[in-house]
């Protein structure tokens, strides 16, 4: 439903939503459903609905990336003092990164949000506690058609999670194996409807409204209400203050400037781009950028560290097929430390993957200069595959904690560039060591191998860069996720998270976006 540009310009919208990922899609859907006139702005393209494109970190060409809905350009990361350009698993198209995700929408634990006596919260707790969030988690689980098992270690009910879909043979086998190790596995909470002929589109675009993401559970139902309009290929360049302190939106559509105004502006460009936009909106009135009076915009950037490991459950198990949707929370909080949950990645490592992994390690080592070294990795991989059969791959999501010096910065010469400064803290390294030790211990008697050597921030899970808080001097947005000194500017993505939690961010993004939409409705 692409409307004419002149109509879009001349409409005074109830809400303009910047970004169409999970946060923007869900917030816009809730607002449109409430009868508000909503305009979605998306930097990338709509694409073809039938596409099944997988995120491809090897594809470097920006034109090819843009047409596939990948973030077109490399991001610039100063990682531990070393500046590097890398291709991040980020989307830029209808649905944002979520069209590529594995649709794992896990609810956090109470201690992720609350300051508990035995589990003190590093920020003193989110301004909205677990109990206040619970109805929004439920609503988001319903909206995303979540299926899965209740976590056997939790006594908090999940009334809105439908029973897990029938398990793949690999899942049942690996769960037995994990139980044998004394762990408490359950079927992950997955936002896939499993329509007839479901292709289990984890890691690639789903050609139907079967996998629930920012597009299928957000923008598309919003458009179906008749109250919403979508403008793609439209990059927001600045927010500009009106006389009353509210903001309007400056965009670039095919290189042409276009200014749009609305009663409410909902920022949901993702935790790497939402702060960048506020920094780029500096003016005489806001010399450090909008919302940046306390010099906090872009700061407290967090990722998860991905601890990827392979597990060889024995030769017979290799035939059962990959386990796709199994996880456990036994190590979520251990030895007094915030760690995170462990999930199956839905891949078996056979010959090819081991080759790929070894090549990656060779590529990062001094061997990369030795001609033929890449090919030589085939020999140990072939032997390994013959000896050990296939391995199941798991990932442990290790919670990252907020540090002011980890941040998104604005590159003044290239304001469209995502540029970061991130340092792996000593404290994080220590928790990482513990996490890995506990993972190894959990699988005593089973052969495991970590596939991650260096700490690997998951650049697909950024959060924290527009912190939510009560104290104006210590946060960017208030408990309702409205920017402190801007009456009409709201944030509905992971930027507002005070901490990164031990689970995938999507469910919390969706739940919080529903809550923010509710506050916006109340404020009119």
């Amino acid at each position: 439903m692409q409307a004419h540009l002149s109509d879009i310009r001349d409409t005074h919208w109830d809400a303009i939503v910047i970004g169409t990922g999970v946060g923007g899609g869900v917030a816009g859907r809730a607002l449109a459903k409430a009868g508000m006139k909503v305009l979605f702005l998306e930097k990338g393209r709509a694409g073809f609905r039938a596409e099944e494109t997988a995120i491809d970190l090897g594809m470097g060409d920006p034109v090819a990336r843009a047409i596939r809905g990948f973030w077109p350009d490399p991001i610039s990361v100063d990682l531990d003092g070393r500046r590097q350009q890398l291709l991040a698993p980020l989307g830029a198209g209808l649905g944002g990164s979520s069209v590529f995700y594995a649709a794992t929408l896990e609810r956090p634990e109470p201690h992720d949000l609350d300051n508990l006596p035995d589990r003190p919260h590093p920020t003193g707790g989110w301004p909205v506690g677990f109990e206040a969030m619970q109805p929004w988690f439920d609503a988001a689980q319903t909206m995303f058609h979540i299926h899965g098992d209740p976590d056997p270690l939790s006594d908090i009910p999940s009334p809105c999670v439908a029973p897990a879909h029938p398990a793949a043979p690999g899942d049942a086998m690996i769960m037995d194996r994990l139980r044998g190790n004394g762990l408490h596995p359950y079927r992950l909470h997955t936002a896939v409807k499993r329509l007839a002929g479901c292709g289990d589109c984890l890691g690639h675009k789903c050609p139907r409204a079967c996998k629930m993401d920012g597009r299928s559970a957000g923008v598309e139902p919003a458009l179906a209400t008749g109250n919403a309009t979508l403008l793609t290929d439209c990059e927001v360049t600045r927010l500009v203050r009106n006389a009353d302190g509210s903001v309007r939106v400056e965009t670039s559509q095919d290189g042409a400037a276009l200014t749009l105004s609305a009663r409410h502006v909902v920022l949901a460009a993702g935790a790497l781009s939402s702060p960048r936009l506020l920094l780029a909106s500096a003016s005489a009135r806001d010399p450090q950028g909008i919302g940046n009076g306390a010099d906090l915009v872009g700061r407290n950037l967090m990722f998860h560290l991905n601890e990827i490991f392979a597990l060889w459950p024995g030769k017979a198990a290799g035939f059962a097929g990959p386990s796709k949707s199994v996880g456990f929370r036994d190590l979520y909080f251990a030895e007094g430390q915030r760690l995170g949950m462990v999930q199956a990645m839905g891949i078996d490592v056979g010959y090819g993957e081991i080759v790929h992994h070894l090549r990656g390690r060779v590529a990062r080592s001094w061997l990369r200069r030795m001609p033929g070294a890449m090919d030589l990795t085939r020999i140990p991989a072939a032997i390994g595959a013959k000896l050990m059969g296939t391995a199941k791959v798991f990932v442990g999501l290790l919670e990252d904690l907020p540090y002011a010096e980890n941040r998104v910065v604005l590159d003044a010469d290239n304001p469209g560039l995502i540029s970061l400064e991130y340092r792996v803290s000593e404290e994080l390294l220590a928790r990482r060591k513990l996490f890995r030790r506990l993972i190894r211990k959990s699988f005593k008697g089973t052969r495991t191998a970590f596939l991650t050597q260096e700490p690997e921030p998951n650049f697909g899970h950024p959060c924290g860069t527009l912190r939510m808080g009560v104290d104006v001097g210590k946060s960017v947005v208030n408990a309702d996720c409205r920017v402190h000194d801007v009456p009409n500017l709201w944030v509905a993505d992971a930027s507002v998270f005070p901490t990164s939690m031990g689970v995938n961010p999507s469910l919390t993004i969706a739940a919080n976006a529903l809550r923010v939409a509710d506050r916006i409705k109340d404020s009119r």
Partner: protein
Amino acid sequence: MTDLTQGIAIVTGAGGGLGRALAVDLSQSMTVVGLGRDLAALDDTRRLARDGMFHGIEADVSDINSVSHAFDKAKAHGKITLLVNNAAQYPRRDFTEETADSFMKVVATNLGGTIACTRAALDDMLETGFGRILNVATFADIAPLPASSAYSVSKGAARIFTRALIADIGDRFPGIVVNDWMPGMLATRMGIPDGLAPEQAAKWGAQLALWHDPSLTGTTWEMDREIPPPRSLKRRIADRVLMKPRVASRRLP
């Protein structure tokens, strides 16, 4: 959509030779729209085809407008799920006797026709994410024969086009299966007198066209068998030493 035969097939150059044989064979399984320059010849194809399953449309694939009109008409019969780019011409002319114009007319049919028809057929296929494109190809580009420059160049470029198309859509639309098929030396107007009967080649071609397996994308087939991509001697030795698993080439049943 998950079944090619629920839609329609477009076969270019369906008024004779291999194209006619392919259209007749495919009409046993699905509705076929045949494109050709000669309506009477298309009508002969219709008589050979299964009753009511073949529709001829007069079109010159070297003319983009003509292709566009033909596809508009074809769509009245259903959604396009299969395209066989078969139409080609092979004038035997030494390059000293070509004009730039006569040369480029051949390119317009052999390369331009493939591009125009593929682009038109993709409209339906991109929408559903489902389809099959079979390009009738030759090895003429590898060692061009004398008096074959326009043919070798245009058919060679068409093979490059197959690969370029796959580079653009292969990863995004795994359900649109695209590959090249070399029918072999045929006893047709374009072929050699003691070549293979087009009806025999068409059996393989139709079978391959109706085979919707994403793993076919990018493969090259000659008659009834898959031709593995060429490897240099050095590469072959290296693969052997490095224990790279060997992939068996497939054959039509």
